[in-house]
Point group: C2
């Protein structure tokens, strides 16, 4: 590392140490991006108001015990546009997203709730398609939708249909959470397919590609992984808004360690790469809805990769990075051209309403 | 009862026995009213798709056991307009509503989730007010908000802020559910205040009244009730959308018994009564957000009333009805003028976006 590089890293570390300050007076789309702006809003408004030890862990799911039973509990609201897209719709997206938030916590998803905000004039036939997708997704994930709510707002006060799903699961095999240098970082399949599919489905680009959303329930895949390398799974995250880059940043920051990514090892389908180049965005930041990032102990790397690849939803799994001592909290990318650059959290929002 | 009356009742019973058929092609505001149209939509679309034994009970909360622990789980989406109104805002409404759905199931509310759908341009200061209300409401109800989500949609795709809350509680003392003729039906306070407050806050009526929403957490009040008459509580419901009339209809239908209401015994504040007369609506159908309907065994009537009245949130409690054998599933109202009329579910929606 040159002296200049060291100074840059030092400045970044200092900046990250500062408490996030919310400078905006009004909500902007970037606050929903999953990147820096979201984090700032969450820290400055929600965590400030609701502070409690469970929330403060800021995991995909909240974890708590009730009468000795270790539960996971999570929620997500879905505002994806368009509602229907190749590979899925807002319905299976909502079920899979909630199931996956429970699965990456090492929980077995059990019961889901679904709240609908419908716009006056929304076709009942479309609603039936959505609920049928939800039913099929719930069946595939082995969960029941046990409670719900329906609200209707006037025309122009929503965009067809928004869905909020929450889920309860029982924690059976939580990841240890304790990363160490040398740990291997894997993705369970090619990245960015959901985000690019949504962009193309909006028709804003004059581009056609044979792409479909990767939306899928990850419970079984991650259970196979845990069985294949018991006790060696350090961390699991599903790479939704903000993509793999955002998840890696959060993992590195939580652990106070570095993650060194080998760009050439990151699986990206040619159609995704091509669309991203046209859009001027990095596939590392594009949302997946059926891909997880997992960190395993060094000795479990081969077994983890084999277990993932043996499952249909993990056929394209790859080792993409390793954990390093420093620079603490940062994600470095070794580019295909031999250089190294920092992969930071995005400030803005390349793709609004992706989920 | 005259022969004509008997014929009318018979016709109503036959109509109720028929399976609800959804005739609408598109969603209308009435589908969010909590009345007949909501029930038809829920039956024809959601229950049809998601059918499972827990959902099919159609309680305010879903109940299920996880490793032997009896849990309650509920969700609600809030789209109230305006967001701020005398006595509360969308924030405490969302927390209290979810807490109350757990409390009426005989559960101790424990943990809440909160999902926010924000419109681009929404003032951060307003969001802070809302989260502060949620914090205070959660504190008052003894629950933590442990997980959440934030989405942002473009201008014109929401109405400032929508909130979906879900809650998990542990079931400690569930009502028996088994109603019997002679049981007493109580409300925990004057009805219709929330709904009328929202109507007046919209400024659509040139009317001022010294009214505030009754939004409040009912956990403590209902725990006191259960302590005062152990084993004698048959049923508890919070009277939100559709008001006390809708809740009574659902209780009567579930039990296959009749409920005979004494109109003169129903507590309604003069300002609510006056506003309802101007609006041409019956206060029995107007939403409360801090009132419950409870059914207790005949011998517990006096103790239940005394226990409710001893608590600040139940000071205006009253016995309003008794359970009768027949006409099965119907709610009858003995009017102040000595007549009797049937109180049916409303087909339409007198007050959209009330919660």
């Amino acid at each position: 590392m040159t002296i200049r590089e060291e100074q840059v890293l030092e400045r970044i570390e200092r900046a990250r140490g500062r408490r996030a300050r919310l400078r905006d007076d009004t909500i902007v789309l970037a606050h929903g991006s999953g990147g820096k702006a979201t984090r700032t809003l969450v820290d400055a408004v929600f965590r400030e108001a609701f502070a409690n030890p469970v929330l403060d862990r800021m995991d995909d799911s909240a974890r708590f015990a009730v009468n000795g039973v270790d539960l996971a509990f999570t929620t997500d609201s879905y505002v994806v546009s368009p509602l229907f897209f190749p590979g899925g719709d807002i319905g299976d997206l909502a079920v899979n997203g909630t199931v996956n938030d429970l699965a990456v916590a090492g929980a077995t998803p059990l019961h889901l709730s679904a709240g609908f905000i419908l716009e006056e004039g929304f076709p009942v036939e479309s609603l039936r398609h959505i609920t049928e997708s939800m039913r099929a997704a719930a069946e595939a994930a082995g969960v029941d939708i046990v409670t719900g709510d329906t609200k209707v707002v006037q025309r122009g006060k929503a965009d067809g249909c928004y869905i909020s799903t929450s889920g309860v699961g029982v924690v059976t095999d939580p990841p240890s959470g304790a990363l160490r240098p040398g740990d291997a970082v894997l993705v369970t399949g090619p990245i960015g397919e959901h985000g690019v599919t949504i962009m193309l489905a909006r028709g804003e680009l004059d581009l056609e590609a044979d792409l479909a959303s990767d939306t899928a329930p990850l419970g079984c895949l991650l259970a196979e992984l845990r069985d294949a390398c018991p006790g060696a799974v350090r961390r699991m995250r599903d790479a939704t808004r903000g993509g793999v880059a955002t998840v890696l940043n959060e993992i590195a920051a939580d652990a106070g360690l570095a993650i060194a990514v080998d760009e050439g090892a990151v699986p990206v389908r040619p159609a995704v790469r091509g669309a991203c180049e046209l859009l001027g965005i990095d596939p590392m930041y594009v949302a997946c809805e059926g891909r997880a990032v997992v960190v395993v102990a060094p000795e479990a790397e081969a077994a983890a990769l084999a277990a993932l690849r043996a499952h249909p939803l993990g056929a394209g799994a790859a080792v993409i990075a390793h954990v390093k001592d420093d620079p603490s909290g940062l994600v470095l990318l070794k580019t295909a051209f031999g250089g190294t650059r920092i992969v930071d959290l995005l400030a803005g929002d390349p793709l609004p309403r992706i989920c």
